[in-house]
């Protein structure tokens, strides 16, 4: 069995990593750290672990060496303490944004912070297997992608790779769990319930990753938060450089994605669920993809849905782990979703 630890295990992403890893046939969860809950049972913070584990949270300062460590810390922490984590494990998967970009300038521009370990940036492979599989397989350090970025990149990748699009505008609809576990006045239920909240209409940080990994510039991205808990739906508008009909698009996307275990094409004309819908991927590692072509204006609208805590975070991180450790890529990620929910 492979020993794995989670640093920062009390958040929603930590809880989701545990939900997967405690059922992963090849993994032994060694330590789960939390400064705030050290000494308490995991299940007192993660109710879905009741009847499942007797493990308790431990302190990040007393870590034993393991084969692989997941870092699920607030932004800025991983890069500040990466030296210590390198002693704990030779393989690191970081779920924060600290190692997603390529240069200190990008961090100053998008995150407004000077990167403390810029020289490490190119040692981290970007954690979207569908566009970076070989590099992840051969890396010891992986930086897991942002949830909105993952949805946007996977929606556009085939078209961007073939240089067939321009004027990209992405409108994301997201759930409340994107804000993480920390509560605030704004997340107080009577205040939050039913409100539809525009969030970062311009200059959303995930644009940095989208432009970098699609080789695009001038991407427009805005996000609206609704009061469902899990899920991201991106409505991606793009102009097509040359004329394509729906069939051409299917052929192109099949060329890139037909053998991908976690990408489903959704175009079920007679079903109520004709296009991708975040509700149907809740808890799964799926990215559901569909599109509509606007013939008279040579435009395409691509629709992409994923679970921000799964394919947008923990699921994708475990997918990368499976690749790094030479396991079947889908191992531990077979959950297929619940309906109705």
């Amino acid at each position: 069995m492979i020993d794995v630890s989670i640093v920062g295990g009390s958040g929603f992403v930590g809880g989701e990593l545990l939900r997967i890893l405690l059922s992963h046939p090849e993994i032994n969860v060694k330590q789960v750290t939390s400064e705030r809950y050290a000494g308490r049972y995991l299940k007192s913070v993660h109710p879905h672990l009741r009847g499942r584990t007797n493990l308790k949270f431990s302190n990040a300062s007393e870590m034993e060496c393991v084969d692989l460590v997941f870092l699920a810390l607030p932004h800025g922490e991983s890069s500040r303490r990466i030296g210590y984590f390198e002693e704990v494990s030779e393989r690191i998967i970081d779920l924060s944004a600290d190692f997603r970009l390529g240069s200190n300038e990008e961090y100053v521009q998008w995150y407004g912070f000077e990167h403390p370990r810029e020289e490490l940036l190119d040692r981290f492979a970007y954690g979207i297997a569908e566009i970076n599989r070989e590099q992840i397989r051969n890396s010891r350090f992986v930086s897991s992608a942002g949830c909105n970025a993952t949805a946007s990149i996977l929606s556009l990748y085939p078209l961007a790779k073939e240089g067939m699009i321009s004027d990209v505008l992405i409108d994301a609809k997201v759930g409340t769990s994107e804000g993480g576990r920390k509560s605030s006045e704004a997340s107080h239920h009577p205040v939050r319930s039913g409100s539809i909240r525009s969030y970062r209409p311009v200059m959303h940080r995930h644009i940095a990753e989208i432009e970098r990994y699609l080789g695009l510039s001038g991407v427009k991205f805005s996000s609206t938060s609704f009061d469902f808990v899990r899920g991201v739906l991106v409505t991606v508008h793009a102009s097509l450089t040359d004329n394509m009909n729906e069939r051409d698009l299917w052929r192109l996307y099949r060329k890139y994605y037909s053998s991908e275990p976690f990408i489903r094409f959704i175009n079920d004309k007679r079903s109520i669920f004709r296009y991708p819908d975040p509700k149907l991927v809740a808890g799964t590692n799926y990215f559901d993809l569909g599109f509509a072509v606007d013939d008279h204006s040579d435009r395409v609208v691509i629709l992409g849905a994923l679970d921000n805590l799964m394919k947008g975070a923990a699921g994708q991180a475990v997918q990368a782990m499976n690749l790094m450790l030479g396991f079947e890529e889908t191992m531990g990620l077979e959950f297929h979703g619940i309906f109705p929910l």
Binding site: R40, Y41, S44, N54
Partner: protein, 62 residues
Amino acid sequence: MSTTSSLSEFICPICDARNEYDDIFEVGELLDCFECGSELEVVSTNPLQIIESEIEAEDWGQ
């Protein structure tokens, strides 16, 4: 009040569950009951006495 049992375990005074414990009891120490989640306090070690520690009743204001 909890009855004494071998040092490697204790009985929860609230729900009667047998809890494994891999450490030495110390007076004033707080323990978690694995089964019912109550927070317990060691008030004496010889004999072992464990009571439910004072918790502010949850007040959701409803």
